[in-house]
């Protein structure tokens, strides 16, 4: 299942900072952040719920809000 989030993951080093938190959740199959997009879109392929992903991002010290599928 693919989720998309609007985040404040601004730069490459911010990506580095959230990487361990997203990587260590083994049920997350794949994820990536599009920092080119003004909304800094985080895409996650996972069996976890969107709320759980938001919680993981917040744990890393960043904010994420689920985007409804277009």
């Amino acid at each position: 299942m693919e989720h998309k989030f609007k985040t404040n993951i601004n730069c490459n080093n911010c990506i580095n900072a959230v990487t361990p938190f997203l990587n260590k959740e083994i049920d997350i199959e794949r994820w990536e952040v599009d920092t080119e997009n003004p909304n800094k879109i985080l895409t996650v392929n996972t069996d976890l719920s969107a709320d759980e992903v938001v919680r993981i991002v917040e744990e890393a010290g960043y904010k994420a809000a689920k985007l409804e599928q277009a």
């Binding site: 080093n13 911010c14 990587n23 990536e32 010290g61």
Partner: protein
Amino acid sequence: MQTGNFTVRGMTCASCAASVESMLQSAGGVADAAVNFASNSVQVKWDETTISPTDFKQILKQIGYDLDLHTDRETQAKRNEEEWIAARNRTFVAIALATPVFVLGMFFMHAGGWVHWVSMLLTAAVMAFPGRHFYTNAAKRARFGQANMDTLVALSTAIAFLYSAVNTVYPQFIQSYGIKAEVYFESAAVIIAFILLGKYFEEKAKHKSGEAIQQLMQLQPNEVTVIKNGLEERISIEDVKPFDRLLVKAGERIPVDGVVAAGSSFVDESMLSGEPVPVEKQKKSSVFAGTFNQSGLITVLAQKVGEGTVLSQIVEAVKKAQGSKAPVQKKADAIAAVFVPVVLVVAVLTFALWLLIGSLSYLPQAINSAVAVLVIACPCALGLATPTALMVGMGKAATSGILIKDATQLELAAKVNEVVFDKTGTLTLGKPQVSTQQWFAEDEPNKSVFLALEKASGHPLSLPLIEAVNAANVTLEQHQTVAGSGVWGLYGGQAFFAGKAEWIAEVAEIPKAVQEKLPLFAADETVVMFAKKNTLLAAIGLRDALKPDAKEAVAWLQNQQINCHMLSGDRPEVAQEIAKQLDIRHVKAGVLPTEKGAYLEQVKNNDKAVVAMLGDGINDAEALAKADVGVAMAQGTDIALDVAGITLMHGKLTDWVSAIKIARKTSRVINENLFWAFFYNVICIPVAAGLLYPFNGFLLSPMIAGAAMAFSSVTVVLNSLRIKSGLK
């Protein structure tokens, strides 16, 4: 509490700075952390009892930043390199200064007084600069009442120099007593140059093979593929952090300790467990750094990296074992320790006898002779005796594929009387091969189907099976692997099964008549069966076979009254079977890596035991480090190669026999060399003491000292070269 400033690397925005600050602040033991984004630095206040700057680095690396700390390993390597360069320079300077002294002393001795003055200055330079440490070392030892080679060199050269200096500055003094004012500058200068040259040879041999080991290690990849923000990226292994996700392809080593996040594969963990058959890994299976991914693409979530891995912990244990090893006393030092007091006593006796036999009027001759005894006492070939033999011995070994890293190991190998073998990969080939093959239906299509099934299975044991079965290729209509059991497929509308005996018994009916014809498999064989629905087609046994030369090597060792032992992490039945084939009585099976180290200590407990350990894996490393002589197979792991003093480049056990033979010959030549080094000088001592004086007024002259120097050096070098010949 301690406060310090560190440079942080990798911060590019204000969020980064905040992240670094909060990570450090939340670490236990850190009282305060303040980041200065402009200067890329962080000021930390911490409790040194609970946390250290290395931990800060670790914490920041987890989130992608780095802290500048200089690493210990680099400085150590740099220091070694500097020491080696210094030793080399010292030797060259000594030779450059000593050569003119030698030429002047040998060929221009009658050219006039200036010769003595020039020689004195040059010799003083040799002693004061390249040779200085002989005097400081000797002084340190003297404080504890000990003597070694340095003492002998320092004593003899210092006395030779002082005596000659007096005769140069004020020759009239000794001449007024009717004694020729001789100078021995060239002895002093050449002795120092030669002994430094010997040390240089020793270092050079060490330096060179050290490089060879490094080259071996570089064969392993040090780049890994990391998945960064959804993309693959190649990075250096040093930049991998915990929680990185790494892609490990088939044929690559797993770079970290972690769990499989995606994919599945067979992983060869033999380096850690000693077990040759690869282990199946799926999502959530643990994997370990250094193990070898054989078949599939897996994504590994890094949990422990660098120094935190099981591998590194073993390396640490190994380093500890290495560090605690007592240095071996060099033979030349042992001889010097006895020789120095003897020479001093002889010098005093000489002095006393002159006065007793002669009278007080012989006081000048008495002093002169006592000094001459001390001058001639130090053989100039002393420093060459051991290094030249070791160098030739090591060169000889290298041409046979035996790489000797540590010269003292060569000396010890000559005395080995207990040999402990690792089983897998040392005594055996380290990979299973077909050992028994019985076909109940010989016809070609059956073999072809079996081949096709094995090719489809991807099981680690399928490779040796494919190698052993010769048949034409056919295409299966359908096939499927059954995890943990085997593989089945359809061909010509019929079902064929290949796999474990238990599974075959479940899926196929095997007629009684065929069952009775089954071969008897040995305890160390793994059995694979191949069947159709209603009959057995083949039964095949695989085993990790002995190396072809294992029997010959073990028999030679036992014939030489060397006790052989075998350690194995494998099942006892398998270990016993192998031991039986080799006639090894001391066997321990099912051992863990730490138990190997313990077993070795137990063998070493006997005072007379000189123990060699032969192994190839990381699980052998601690035992290799603890052994008197550690021998690694070149096909083995880096750590085993690093720890072992001797590496067998071809992994052949008969090369170990050759190594012992070369070691014994080298050891014999060292003893002979030491004898010849001292021989010419010792026979000159009576002359120096004035034994011939009553008959023909003969006392020690620089000519005699020079001859002794030349004869002893040439004999020693020629004798060392003998190691090259006469050995197969």
